[in-house]
């Protein structure tokens, strides 16, 4: 038997594998369920961010608010909007199975992975820097004899963040490690795909 006949026989064997039928209705239901879940999560996040931004704007625009409060809460509101927009942008990209080949997809995913690591590292250090900055401001406020109400407000924020900061740090570390492990898997996959 020639090599081609051998190959034809192998091909026939391959194609004679039993394959399960595909239930299109079940598939349709699953697609609908996933789409609904994704829309719900996104809607919840947007509503939550909008709520926080509106609250910040409300406090910043109060007639009694001074310049410091306007800047602080105005900045927080803008930060929330920018953050949420960034998260939506991160999610917007789903793999376009139609247009890319596997190695191009891996490259895109590797860049995304690197961005995730970068995002969490930056986020953790920025949060720490903001907290240290607020702590310095609080010390300055004590020495400069700022009104008790403002010093108390700063202190409340600092205390609350003493709990939030470690939690954020642990979560950020976990996300970074996940992203690093994923990067390693993607690199390994790229090696496997490239091996002739």
């Amino acid at each position: 038997m020639s090599a081609n006949q051998d190959w034809a026989a192998l091909s026939a064997d391959w194609r004679s594998q039993e394959s399960p039928g595909i239930d299109v209705e079940a598939l349709r239901a699953e697609a609908t369920r996933r789409g609904r879940t994704l829309r719900r999560v996104l809607a919840l996040e947007i509503v939550f961010s909008a709520l926080v931004a509106v609250m910040c704007a409300y406090i910043a625009l109060q007639p009694g608010a001074d310049g410091f409060e306007r800047w602080l809460f105005g900045g927080l509101g803008v930060f929330m909007v920018v953050y949420q927009a960034y998260m939506v942008w991160l999610r917007r990209r789903e793999w376009s199975e139609a247009g890319l080949d596997a190695s191009a997809l891996l490259e895109v995913e590797l860049r995304r992975c690197a961005t995730t690591q970068h995002y969490w590292r930056l986020g953790m250090w920025l949060s720490l820097a903001i907290w240290v900055g607020l702590f310095g401001l609080w010390l300055h406020a004590l020495q400069a004899g700022w009104p008790d109400q403002r010093v108390g407000g700063l202190m409340g924020g600092l205390l609350a963040n003493m709990l939030l900061m470690p939690a954020l740090g642990v979560y950020g570390l976990w996300r970074s490690r996940q992203a690093r492990a994923r990067c390693q898997r993607l690199h390994a996959l790229r090696e496997l795909l490239g091996a002739a």
């Binding site: 090599a3 051998d6 190959w7 192998l10 091909s11 064997d13 391959w14 194609r15 004679s16 594998q17 394959s19 399960p20 039928g21 595909i22 299109v24 598939l27 699953e30 697609a31 996933r34 793999w95 376009s96 199975e97 139609a98 247009g99 890319l100 080949d101 596997a102 190695s103 191009a104 997809l105 891996l106 490259e107 995913e109 590797l110 860049r111 992975c113 690197a114 961005t115 970068h118 492990a181 994923r182 898997r185 993607l186 390994a188 996959l189 496997l192 795909l193 490239g194 091996a195 002739a196």
Partner: protein
């Protein structure tokens, strides 16, 4: 992103893509039911070349079929529907390998069963099929993708289109994979 990080993860230079044709008009687009009826068995076999455990293979098959459904509106008709479907399937399977730690571990570490060893009571045809599938799964990923499509009856050009590879790369991988398959299946004979 810092420049060093960007440089590290920058993709190798790729040839400029040809201008893409517009997607096929909605009225001319095939229905998912028809696509699955015609190409479902091929999708199932592709899933089986990545996952040996039945439950995980079914999960992967579901992911693949959902991906095909989602991608159908983007089909431009510049490649055949079969090639397009195979490309989506392989991409989704690669995504699956990248996401699932277990699948990746299996990919890298698992000692695949000896294709020559098959249950005594199986019929000869079933033995041959099982041996072939096990041998295909044992191939390195790059060769396996090429071989699966070749076994499905794709021409070299179509395999290149589906996997984004040059034709000579496809030919080279296919030649090595065929030699390897012959060795393994010969041992089991």
């Amino acid at each position: 992103m810092p420049a060093a990080l960007a440089a590290r993860y920058a993709p190798p230079p790729r040839p400029a893509p040809e201008p893409a044709a517009p997607p096929v008009a909605a009225a001319d687009r095939p229905r998912i039911e028809d696509v699955l009826r015609e190409h479902g068995p091929m999708l199932s076999r592709i899933a089986g070349s990545y996952e040996s455990e039945p439950a995980r293979r079914d999960d992967l098959l579901q992911e693949i079929t959902l991906a095909v459904w989602k991608a159908l509106p983007a089909w431009r008709g510049d490649a055949s529907l079969r090639t397009f479907t195979a490309r989506v399937a392989h991409n989704r399977a690669i995504d699956h390998l990248a996401r699932e730690r277990k699948a990746m571990g299996e990919e890298l570490d698992e000692a695949h069963p000896d294709p020559g060893a098959s249950p005594v009571h199986h019929a000869e045809a079933q033995q041959r099929r099982a041996g072939l599938v096990a041998a295909v799964r044992r191939l390195p990923l790059g060769q396996r993708q090429v071989v699966v499509l070749a076994l499905e009856g794709f021409a070299l050009k179509e395999i290149g289109q589906a996997l984004g590879l040059e034709e000579n790369t496809v030919a080279q991988r296919l030649s090595r994979a065929r030699r390897q398959l012959n060795d393994w299946l010969g041992e089991g004979a």
